[in-house]
């Protein structure tokens, strides 16, 4: 099987399981909604304050949902040992990683697409003129999370205290994405003096490319204990 066929096969298998169990998606959506409620009820009705806190709240949602999502990447495989059968197959391991990364990206984007409008409405932030830019940023940020977190989630298969260990490793590594996301969104919304969001876009694209290539190189070695 070539790279694309393996990627498609693993993606279809994961999505079929997710559509049947819905456990990851439901967990992420509920978690994101609770986060949204907690944040929005905590702020005053002052539109200027809401506009200023919106980027932080938005990216905190991405941070926690992204981390929760990647932690479950190999949970099913680990439970019954299917992970071993998967990585011992002759399939291209880079394609397995790519499929898992796309599943994580897809789930994070679904959750973000559901909760961002709710967050905007509840904080009364008008995104109609900047929806395209914000969406592009969220896509790059979610991709960064998936690209960093998915290969690292392999350690959750075997490590003790993996639920604690994974966020501790992922958070520092995704810090550039978070900083670029929060600052870039604030630039787009015009709440900080720096008005040009392009450097933040460039930073995110560069970050994503580095981890895309790095993950493909390292994953093969990471799956052998």
């Amino acid at each position: 099987m070539n790279f694309a066929e393996t990627l498609a096969l693993v993606w279809r298998k994961d999505m079929r399981i997710e559509l049947r169990s819905k456990d990851t998606l439901v967990t992420l959506v509920l978690f994101a909604l609770v986060m949204t409620m907690v944040f929005t009820f905590g702020f005053a009705n002052d539109p200027q304050t809401n506009l200023r806190v919106f980027p932080s709240v938005l990216w905190a949602n991405v941070l926690f949902c992204g981390t929760l999502g990647v932690g479950r990447t190999f949970a099913r495989e680990a439970r019954d040992g299917a992970f071993t059968a998967l990585v011992l197959s002759p399939a291209h391991r880079g394609a397995i990683l790519a499929a898992k990364t796309l599943v994580n990206l897809f789930l994070t984007l679904v959750v973000t697409a559901l909760t961002t409008p709710i967050l905007a409405v509840m904080l009364r932030v008008d995104l109609s003129d900047v929806a395209g830019l914000i969406s592009a940023q969220l896509f790059l940020g979610a991709a960064g999370f998936a690209l960093v977190g998915t290969p690292l989630a392999v350690m959750a298969v075997n490590a003790r205290f993996a639920e604690v260990l994974l966020p501790m490793v992922v958070f520092p590594l995704v810090a550039p994405v978070l900083i670029a996301g929060v600052t870039g969104t604030a630039s787009i919304l015009g709440t900080i003096p720096e008005q040009d969001p392009r450097p933040w876009f460039q930073l995110m694209i560069g970050f994503d490319l580095v981890y895309l290539v790095g993950g493909q190189f390292l994953f093969d070695r990471m799956v052998t204990e």
């Binding site: 079929r16 399981i17 169990s21 019954d80 040992g81 299917a82 071993t84 011992l88 197959s89 391991r93």
Partner: protein
Amino acid sequence: MPGPAFESVEARKLGRLYDESYALVDVSVRFEAGTVTALLGPNGAGKSTLMGMLSTALRPSEGEVLYGGRAHDENDPWLRSCIGYLGHRPMLYGELSATENLDFFGRLHGVRPEATRHWLERVGLTRAADRPVSGFSRGMAQRLALARALMSSPSLLLLDEPFTGLDPEGVRLTKSLVAERRDAGATVVLVTHDLAVTDDLASQAVILRGGRLMHAGPSGGDLAGLYRTHAEAKERRTS
């Protein structure tokens, strides 16, 4: 059917360190094609560690494994395509049906799609083909896991406790499928505690204790006797 990919599998001075203690120490043993070797030993002897290294799932801390007299990169897809591995756990997806599981793993191994139906029939799961594996009994899951390991016609078949959870009919079926693979020229290594069940199947025996090799050679049709001599006797002597 094509012949086996290699004539032997050889572990050379294998050692495996976990944290600060060795699970396997200086183990050298050769497994010939067309034979079934029973890998025996008490709990914690290092059997699963050795199986893990033969399967390429575990990286040796010391030594190497030669497949057909050659060392291979552990990440070589060709090598992985030659190995069928059945571990302690079924290694299946509970949310998928039996058919979907075999389809998935079969395609990863480049097996023809028709093989799924064939193997479901061989392991007697045709009627349960469309049921999710999470609802299977331990024995049914074990039969399906055996089909998964065998469907790519592996040259090296590694079976860790294959008789677990099986009824007498399942045991007979497993033995006949393993014998079939052996007769096709595959190297078969089988970890078991069911010595009586394996007696007529395994012509070779390897006994480990405390991570060290105690015996490697013909089984002589008396695995229980060999085990008493090489594993239990040493235990009594040291206690």
